[in-house]
Symmetry: C3
Subunit: 274 residues, 3 copies
């Protein structure tokens, strides 16, 4: 059994509870994909209960789409740190507005994150690069390509080292680094960018995987990235075969996570490690 | 025609408007299942309009998942009481945090509820029992089983009597009591706990059924529980046959409510009354 | 190529970014239908970033379902006016409560809208007529029928002229006017009123279409209305054929927008212009 399959087995066995402070656009999909993966979602995000609710969870996900809840993320994140519960950050559109830049600064100062997953524009912004991405979508100029792959690997490795966290970039090419190891993953499909929430769902999955395999967050994050990419490929095959569209694709994507076996994950994952 | 079928006919004929103060995780599903059942949803929840909006509704649903809107629930609930409009409570995760315990106390003191539907952990908490359920999911220790069924029936009967309301517990075994009659229902399937919102949707359905059959909220609640369970069984058959997952199951569940006939409800309902 | 097909081509080519200040009930569907149409959604609605986020969008949609965010709509709408970005209003349930009547008054005083889309009750209210519609659904007494069509055409033409905007009414019969031209459209199906969000989705689509064809908002709005109606017909055919319900219909509706071709739009649109 590969390490990815081991992580998936742990998720299925532990059924980790994942608390999400997340945005209203994609919250239902995030909850359903956590359930599909075998976890249990909790969407308690009120500042007066966010810390108390952590008493029975295995991971906390902070999604900056819920920008009005930054204070809840800080209170929850600090309490999770105190309890040694992994915390995952999705820095949605972080470079896009001053409000988000300020929120990210506060979050990174006050909370230690186990993993941070964003698109290339978001992660480049966190690495201090000039970025052109606006809002939730990656800019073409920022995207990770075969050409800039060595530079991007260096960038996320340094960012991971400096923040002491796992950094994950999702896109046509995915990258994950913990500052020592760096993995390049090549699963997924283009239709994932034609639904809302594929990034948010992936971050929620990382929460479930890191929650179940807290001893190795790098491998857990890579496994979640691979699982999501393979699910996307399965859903894309159906979409092409049946002539359906992005709404059915979304449903099939979550279904594919629901039905994903350890064997499929092992066979389907396409990655190199550096 | 059975009494359940009569209730369903009333829902189809009256097309009750159901106002929901509910949480952002499952609000879309709640609206769509009310529409599937034949009702009309209204999600007006702002404290400055929640009472005024009641002028043309047949039922109000207060879902404690929207914990930040407790004040709206109290304002709306009191006005609904004044207007003799049925009010249904979903005490989401009520025992989980102090914020929720306090909110439930206020709600039960200030509003009279026609029906309260929760999982076994939530209802046991309201009955003053020690509970182990954390968050939105029932704890295995709290769940209603064949073994503890007599105790559970007694518990909800007493709670119903003391609060002067219909109490409904959904789970593998469903229980409904109005303090006099108690019904045990055995429809449903395990996949219902692998989607978010099956509880919230059921409570919204109870709103529609109680709104259309306000003269007998006990039977209306039982009919909604049976309808939801049968819809779950129909969706589960499709899931197994087609090898789909929880996302398609959610869609099929709402579809099954949309297509549910009086005859199917009569034939499919499995229940005993005490 | 018809003018409608030209608009659709522009949407596909430009991939307009549409910023929505919209309600939590249907926000996910609104985002997915914008993506289906070929645009990119941005749901930035926080008052502290709503203006800044406009720097890279082609249209702003203000949906009064998000009644608590009226201030964000005004700040964003004024900035969009300054930047000459089209702004589309969905006056959800505008006549239903004082809160909404006041919000609409402020919005219409402070923001110039390129297009306003509502149901007949909502638009009649804006036109100063007595209406009976309560909440989000059109009243039967307000609905546009073959009988009252001449009166309704006159009403929306005058409203469009007085507000200097495109007015669109959706229903069994759709009407669009810019104060000079008036179009009657007859696409769609009854099941569209059995899902939540068909109106919100349509308004979001208008945002994408008006964003991509800002030089002719009247034709862009008509094209979006026709596209949505045709998508509804495609989804309805599937629903009848497969015996599915409103949840599958919603998925198929978005899929149909995803797959809608210029040819289908040209052939399927049923309209008269006056």
């Amino acid at each position: 059994m590969t390490k990815f399959a081991e992580v998936l087995r742990k998720v299925h066995e532990m059924e980790p509870r994942v608390q999400c402070i997340t945005n209203f656009v994609t919250v239902n999909d995030c909850a359903n994909i956590i359930l599909a993966a075998g976890g249990t979602p909790s969407m308690a995000d009120h500042i007066d209960e966010v810390a108390e609710a952590l008493s029975c969870v295995q991971a906390l996900v902070c999604n900056m789409g819920a920008i009005a809840l930054t204070d809840s993320m800080i209170v929850g994140g600090k309490e999770a740190n105190r309890r040694k519960i992994p915390v995952v950050l999705d820095p949605v559109a972080v470079g896009g507005t001053q409000l988000r830049r300020d929120a990210a600064k506060r979050l990174l100062e006050e909370v230690h994150f186990t993993a941070i997953r964003g698109n290339a524009s978001e992660i480049r912004y966190l690495a201090g690069q000039q970025t052109t991405g606006a809002g939730v979508d990656v800019s073409d100029l920022d995207a990770i390509t075969e050409e800039n792959l060595p530079e991007a690997q260096e960038m996320i490795k340094n960012l991971a080292k400096s923040l002491g966290t796992v950094i994950a970039v999702s896109g046509v090419i995915d990258l994950v680094s913990d500052g020592e190891r760096t993995m390049v993953l090549r699963n997924g499909c283009a239709t994932m960018s034609r639904i809302t929430g594929s990034g948010c769902m992936l971050t929620s999955m990382i929460g479930a995987f890191v929650g179940a395999a807290a001893e190795d967050p790098f491998t857990a994050t890579c496994a979640a990235m691979a699982a999501m990419g393979i699910a996307g490929e399965i859903a894309e095959k159906k979409r092409i075969k049946n002539g359906t569209g992005n709404a059915t694709f979304r449903t099939d994507l979550i279904d594919a996570v629901f039905n994903l076996t350890e064997e499929e994950l092992t066979k389907g994952a396409r990655y190199e490690i550096f």
